[in-house]
């Protein structure tokens, strides 16, 4: 099905099942432990062996020698694979560094060998016996040091004459903000079980993008994609770190080939930070010029980040093209080559760090203008793409988000003068920030089957990374086929199913359900035909198909055998003619200990405008999870770079702190009533990343309101406040 004109009325609009706060259909499986995660696949008949990775202990250079002799003779060892044994490997089109390094070493903890043994413990013990010597090369590890050489590039986006307009502006801001490297730190580490049957490879894994994985596994191992099957029905969080094939898949496949047995691997937790990907640090310079009336006349956002050779920048400036009005604009990314581990997507790549900076800048600018930060944003709202005014937003309710949130949160009671609200030993403050994330759409397919019991089974390689995909897909099929949700069975995460959008970039929910919608439209037609209905008049409800006086049970259509249809939704030109984005307003109250400068969040509210909310319960969970991640980014998360040795030092969950329950207070989420007929037949958009975008700045602005201290470098830890707090010596 091609989606290329605004949607009119369709069966989803009934909202009998879609739009309802349905419990997760996979919830019972998960709370009883019956959902099989990657490392839990177990076939008692397979002679399973266990792999353990060996990581490089230098950041850059060459392996001079590798002594495997002690490891080979260690108890239980079945096979050891290094780059030498693996032979010529390719590289996935979405990988920057190779997944099995050697002799060249590209980053710290790059996998350079896998040891396979009878048990996990034996593999781990033997891996520690692999002795490696290196010829270390000098590397570049310090973004600040590299920044100076990096100026404007040809890909800078310019609208009007920024420099002139900025110089002439009555009120100006020119500040630099920094965000650190961050780790996804999801609960479930990367894990894979690989098994070969002749030249056919099956990998049970934990991955967000099944079809990408098939392609990149095939490319890496230089085998035909048709020989690769990837299965990933349950995923314990990914946040982008499982968008791509990582070393667990390749090491399991190579280990299994060498051992002649299925091999299971989980990356040890300390590998997460340096072996896999991370969100790269940024340095961001923001310049805003405005008239005394508060109208922005000039806005520039430049972002510096680093990555391995051939890596991409962290695109922290993108939202600044679209979020606020202003005739003269400049945005650009500058990319340094760094020999740190590979930087790549982490939840809301670009916008998350970009808004952490931009939305502090807006708060600062409002203060300079003597305007309320909400009013300043309202004044600069735009209903069209400011770089191309002929292109309207499909639906933009940022102002409504801010207004509704202000009322709900009690914004009016806030004293704009910093450092004035006190509660015992705590300094209290309230902050606001806008949230913005583009609504991406991706081609997405599904197969639907109707059986003689009247059960509809949906099959798609869509993944559920804890987001609720199973549930919203079941809701979609139930709505379309007029069935209760119990009569829908959803099967996900298998490359033998039709290729879907997968989970990333908050495109999954809208795109994948639209794919299921398309397949269900086809199934409805097939059913109507079978039962002799005119498919235009047929009503699917209560397990029946009805038209006029005639009603036949849906199951009847499959009485001669299962009906199976498949379709794919493809998105046409609407995203070109209309800018599709999601919007939010985040409100945060913090308390800062007047003595120790510890910052604790007291309450949070996010108001989101993101198209139709397919399931308010799972969507709310997404947003509160994102708000929590925003608090982490604002207050504690930072991969500490050792710029001498080129690695992230705090590479475990004791050193890399993420929020715990005690850090997270009352959280409230409001979804504005919205349908966006430009986005898809579902009229939905994404929320999973929106909930993170801007939260960090709302925290930072609240800290400023509490203390009068403007911290422009995340995370806002107490050391950045303590010497400026009142009463400090």
């Amino acid at each position: 099905m091609k989606f290329d004109k605004p949607e009119t009325t369709n069966p989803i609009d009934q909202l009998k099942v879609v739009g309802q706060p349905v419990n997760r259909v996979d919830g019972p499986l998960k709370v009883t432990g019956a959902a099989t995660y990657a490392y839990e696949w177990h076939d008692p008949h397979a002679r399973l062996a266990y792999g353990y990775p060996v990581g490089s202990t230098i950041a850059k250079g060459r392996i001079a020698s590798m002594d495997l002799s002690r490891a080979r003779t260690a108890p239980g060892v079945v096979a050891i694979v290094t780059a030498k044994e693996a032979g010529q490997l390719g590289k996935g089109s979405r990988n920057t560094a190779t997944l099995l390094g050697g002799p060249e070493v590209e980053h710290y903890h790059q996998a350079i060998a896998v040891v396979v043994a009878e048990t996990f413990e034996q593999a781990r013990a033997a891996a520690a016996l692999v002795h490696v010597t290196y010829e270390e090369a000098e590397g570049r590890f310090d973004l600040t040091a590299e920044k100076d050489g990096l100026g404007p590039t040809e890909s800078d986006v310019k609208v009007g004459e920024f420099e002139t307009a900025f110089a002439e502006a009555a009120v100006r801001l020119d500040e630099t903000y920094t965000t650190p490297d961050q780790s996804h730190a999801m609960m479930e580490p990367h894990a894979s079980l690989a098994a070969w049957d002749g030249d056919k490879l099956t990998i049970w894994t934990s991955n967000q993008m099944i079809a990408w994985s098939v392609g990149d596994v095939a490319k890496t191992l230089k085998i035909p994609p048709a020989n690769v099957r990837v299965i990933s029905p349950y995923i314990g969080g990914g946040f982008g770190s499982k968008l791509f094939v990582r070393s667990d898949m390749i090491l399991a496949a190579l280990g299994s080939r060498a051992a002649g047995r299925p091999v299971k691997i989980a990356l040890p937790r300390p590998f997460l930070m340096n072996n896999t990907t991370h969100r790269p640090a940024t340095i961001q310079r923001i310049r805003i010029g405005a008239g005394r009336d508060g109208r922005i006349t000039a806005i520039a956002h430049e972002g510096w980040s680093g990555n391995l050779p051939d890596g991409d920048p962290e695109n922290a400036v993108d939202q600044t093209k679209l979020l606020y009005a202003g005739a003269h604009r400049l945005t650009g990314n500058r990319l340094a080559t760094l020999d740190l581990p590979e930087g790549n997507a982490m939840r809301a790549p670009g916008e998350a760090p970009g808004l952490m900076a931009l939305e502090i800048a807006m708060d600062e600018m409002a203060e300079r203008l003597g305007l309320d930060p909400i009013e300043f944003r309202v004044i600069n709202d735009t209903q069209v793409d400011p770089g191309n005014p002929a292109r309207p937003f499909s639906h933009r309710q940022l102002v409504e988000c801010l207004r509704v949130g202000a009322g709900r949160f009690g914004w009016a009671a806030r004293d704009a003068r910093p450092g004035t609200a006190r509660d015992g030993r705590w300094l209290k403050g309230i902050g606001v920030a806008a949230g913005f994330r583009n609504n991406l759409t991706m081609k997405s397919g599904a197969r639907v089957r109707l059986d003689r019991r009247g059960v509809v089974t949906v099959e798609t390689d869509m993944t559920d990374i804890g987001t609720g995909s199973y549930t919203i897909i079941a809701q979609t099929a139930a709505e379309m086929m007029g069935l209760p949700i119990e009569r829908i069975s959803v099967r996900l995460g298998d490359s033998s199913f039709p290729v879907s959008a997968g989970s990333g970039g908050q495109w999954g929910a809208n795109s994948a359900t639209a794919g299921v919608y398309a397949a269900c439209v086809k199934l409805r037609e097939t059913v109507a035909q079978r039962l002799g209905f005119n498919s235009k008049d047929a009503v699917f409800a209560d397990g029946e198909v009805r038209s006029g006086d005639r009603r036949v049970s849906l199951a009847q259509a499959a009485s001669d055998g299962e009906l199976v249809v498949e379709d794919t939704i493809e998105f046409g030109n609407l995203k070109k003619t209309h800018q599709q984005s999601t919007f939010a307003a985040h409100f945060v109250e913090v308390a800062v200990d007047a003595a120790t400068a510890e910052t604790r969040v007291r309450r949070m509210l996010s108001v989101c405008a993101a198209g139709r909310i397919l399931n308010p319960k799972t969507a709310r969970s997404q947003v509160i999870g994102a708000m929590t991640m925003g608090v982490g980014g604002a207050l504690m998360e930072e991969l500490a770079v050792d710029t001498r040795r080129g690695f992230f030092v705090n590479h475990d969950l004791a050193g890399y702190e993420v929020p715990v329950h005690a850090d997270i207070p009352h959280q409230e989420v409001i979804f504005l009533d919205e349908v966006d007929p430009m986005s898809s037949p579902m009229k939905a958009k994404g929320v999973g990343e929106l909930g993170l975008c801007g939260v960090g700045a709302a925290v930072a602005n609240a800290v400023y309101n509490a203390t009068g201290i403007r911290v422009r470098s995340y995370p806002i830890t107490l050391d950045k406040l303590i010497t400026q707090l009142p009463g400090a010596s």
């Binding site: 500490a640 050193g655 707090l725 400090a728």
Partner: protein
């Protein structure tokens, strides 16, 4: 993790003798620290002596009016003990400020005293670390040192002792009771129990080879207000950037010990005489000669301000 042999100790002396007989042996109590370190091959004992079957898990009154806490009393039980909560509140509060419920259920009194540093370089066997591998150098100096020590450090090591409980034990003038392989016993004031790093940061306590902790005793209660303030980057489940254990009397005198700043719980009795004059003066005495790094210099004002806040609370 390396392969190891395993035995269950039958008595404290037998445990001590078994440990002395095998230079690569280690006692295992709750295992919450030792096992983590073994998995990373930071500790590589060839033999484990499991002491969990030895009893030593009761808290008894001493004839001096104090308490004797068995070495294997779990942190949860110690923090919940009615006498501890009434007379030694700082100890209960310090324990509850540490780790998590599950960990405290396993962690023992002796094991807690002997838990090892959380210096991140100590945890990465590929990095030089004098504590883990004597003579290899100290990566933290000139590296990521935000969490590390500011007083009593050395050129060999700037690590801190991460225990919360030990800070309270120090302020309470606890005594560690041990038995040696030859069955002799000794009582070590907790003040002398942990060592400064000096040139041998790998040697963290004065315990001798095989020496086994049987109990920790607390002297008779001293009254006063008992406070423990732990300052950290998140609200729970994090090691202290700085912590202050305090027992403050009505007249403003009292005792204080500080965690998160040194290789041992940091207490300077001379600084306590300054307490009535306020936190600034007391903190100056307490941290005299401090040598913070660029990254952890904030701990100096942080100690002063935290102390000030604790004194305010004591007065209120």
């Amino acid at each position: 993790m390396r392969a190891f042999t395993y035995e269950r100790a039958t008595s404290p002396v037998q445990a001590a003798a078994a440990a002395a007989a095998n230079p690569d042996a280690k006692f295992i109590a709750g295992g919450t620290n030792l096992l983590d370190l073994m998995k990373l091959e930071i500790e590589t004992p060839a033999h484990l002596i499991d002491v969990n079957g030895l009893g030593l898990d009761t808290i008894e009154a001493t004839s001096e009016g104090g308490l004797r806490i068995g070495a294997l009393v779990r942190n949860t039980d110690l923090a919940a003990d009615e006498r501890v909560r009434r007379d030694y509140g700082v100890l209960s509060r310090a324990i509850l400020a540490g780790a998590s419920g599950q960990l405290r259920n396993r962690a023992t009194t002796a094991g807690n005293l002997l838990q090892r540093t959380r210096c991140p370089y100590f945890y990465d066997t590929a990095q030089p670390c004098n504590k883990r591998q004597p003579g290899s150098g100290c990566s933290a100096i000139g590296g990521f040192s935000r969490q590390l020590g500011i007083v009593g450090t050395s050129e060999a090591c700037i690590a801190t002792n991460p225990s919360d409980m030990a800070v309270a034990m120090r302020v309470l003038d606890a005594t560690v009771e041990t038995v040696k392989p030859d069955a002799t016993t000794r009582r070590i004031p907790v003040a002398e129990f942990h060592r400064l790093p000096g040139d041998t940061p790998q040697i963290e306590t004065v315990l001798e080879r095989g020496e086994f902790i049987t109990a920790v005793t607390l002297p008779a209660p001293v009254g006063g207000k008992h406070l423990y303030r732990k300052v950290r980057d998140r609200a729970s489940y994090a090691f202290a950037l700085v912590s202050v254990a305090a027992v403050i009397q009505q007249d403003g005198t009292g005792r204080i010990a500080v965690g998160g700043v040194a290789h041992k719980p940091w207490r300077v009795e001379a600084a306590e005489s300054e307490l009535p004059r306020g936190a600034k003066v007391a903190a100056e005495r307490l941290l005299a000669g401090a040598t913070p790094t660029h990254e952890n210099a904030f701990k100096v004002p942080l100690v002063e301000r935290t102390l000030g806040s604790v004194l305010d609370e004591a007065r209120s």
